[in-house]
Symmetry: C2
Subunit: 319 residues, 2 copies
């Protein structure tokens, strides 16, 4: 029984005879043999791995995105290697280097603003690259995202549409996506001739329920309360909502609150939270599918932008 036969029996069980396969399976089990993937990758020059770079694991939207990627890629025999860039440009570069070192066959990356070097590495790698979550002005390859600027503007216009004039914007750290939504907000406010920097409320820190509460408690100290606030995400929004109620502000009577992403809990908050619904799962699914398609068609360089819809879910926290 030669090594090559064992290799075949393990990879394509139906290419060898039943008897042999059973003998091999038995030996494998008894010895606890596990093939060395590094050797396999080296010999076949295929890694059967796809790399994903996300900025954090603390935010459930990325968990949803990853879940979808897993569901698309694992069944067809790809490993998914997740690397966390912690919202840092340098760590993103390192992440890319790590993934290229692993010879991943495609890279899915959250975000569209990369360092010069990162961009060059991605392009030079000649493997399919999928940029996700935003719309890239100059996509490297495939781009599956949400028009964050548009979504920010739409959310703002929705609030303006109720006649509010002092519409605030609440955010935590200014990551790429936050900045784009903020730009959308600014556009809409300027369009209405109502933009005022003092209506932007932020505190440093990862966006979370607790941070939302803190920002709202700060807002409440202002002489003139905004009539409505658009929160960069539902965590901030829920925190803001809870804090509002705690200090006796009626929502939406005294202040209307609009969130973003329409996380599961938005519907069951009290009052329930209006939010901009986005499709993270769908985005992951598409990202995975496009990566696979490029891999199969052998056109790693193909460019294409897929824009996913968003919609405003009106609940009790806004009129």
């Amino acid at each position: 029984m030669s090594p090559i036969t064992v290799s075949r029996a393990l990879r394509n069980p139906d290419m060898v005879s039943d008897e042999l396969r059973q003998r091999i399976d038995g030996a494998v089990n008894k010895l606890g043999y596990v093939p060395n993937i590094a050797a396999s990758r080296l010999a076949s020059s295929r890694s059967h791995a796809i790399g994903v770079i996300v900025p954090t694991l603390y935010n459930v939207i990325f968990a949803e995105f990853l879940q979808a990627l897993h569901e698309v890629l694992l069944p067809v025999g790809f490993q998914v290697i997740v690397v966390n860039s912690r919202y840092s440009i340098e760590e993103e570069e390192n992440a890319i280097r790590t993934l290229l070192g692993q010879r991943v066959e495609a890279i899915v990356i959250v975000g569209v603003n990369h360092s010069k070097l990162a961009r060059r590495m991605l392009i030079q790698s000649r493997i399919p690259v999928v940029e996700a979550f935003q719309i890239a002005p100059e996509p490297i390859g495939i781009n599956v995202g949400l028009d964050q600027i548009q979504a920010g503007a739409d959310a703002t216009r929705f609030l303006l549409g109720h006649g509010y004039r002092r519409v605030g914007f609440v955010l935590g750290q200014r990551d790429e996506r936050a900045v784009e939504r903020l730009r959308g907000y600014q556009l809409a406010m300027e369009e209405a001739g109502l933009f005022d920097e003092n209506l932007i409320f932020s505190q440093t820190g990862t966006s979370s329920i607790a941070l939302g509460a803190r920002v709202m408690s700060e807002i409440a100290t202002h002489a003139q309360l905004p009539e409505a606030v658009f929160c960069i995400d539902d965590n901030l929004a829920l925190g803001a909502l809870q804090e509002s109620r705690r200090i006796g502000l009626k929502v939406p009577g005294d202040i209307a609150i609009l969130g973003f992403h329409d996380l599961e809990f938005a519907a069951c908050a009290s009052p329930s939270l209006s939010s901009v619904a986005t499709q993270r799962y769908e985005m992951g699914k598409l990202a995975g599918e496009y990566a696979l398609r490029l891999l199969n068609t052998g056109k790693p360089g193909e460019r294409r932008t897929v824009k996913l819809d968003h919609s405003i879910v009106r609940r009790q926290s806004t009129p």
Copy 2:
């Protein structure tokens, strides 16, 4: 300039002359050369990788745990390979196989109940194994965990200590840790002669704020309301809290609510949420440190159990 010299220049820059190093760096940058990690692993028979198996990425407690592991392991040159077992025994086996195939140098795994095969694979691998989050009756190697049974019992006794007799237990899916906390609850209730199966409220599904709200809304339909509920985690607790308020139940007047894990938002809920504080970050840090220690001392088989404390944080949702 021979390949081996390049290899050295890249790995130990100060083993080669300045001039050569610069020449090599230049070429590397120009060509976009990235070493093939598979080849490196094969040649050196070291993967510089540590595997981690978590049941889900949706729960922030595992993100915290992972974060700590990353912070311990990345700076000393280890890659962290995260695999998601989705609360499934079979997927856990696959995860172990995948990691062993990668020749990870140690495995950190959440949970202590593994299939026979999984256990055997872990033991036969002869690499350091760290089981986390619970206390293992028969640890494979290192065990860094929290006494979930004790914690469940303590939480229950805390509520009983306020004179409540009908203390309920709220949970979603019955994963290992949930089951242990439930056992602790049952112990404490039986001890007080108050155990009643009808006080266990559960709905299938990942525990989330939304699920907590659903369970509470079901509880509210019961003729006789429990006086207090211990929720398996803070997500359920917050959902229960919100739903209680929504339907007009006073917390803790009509029903007291106690959560678990003391997530960041517990403090800013309204009323603020009492909870059992646990140390996920510390657990990850210790898990990483022990893995490293075993790797360095070369005693992969060493056994040791490290029990982390928990404490009850009393806030407004309980008296």
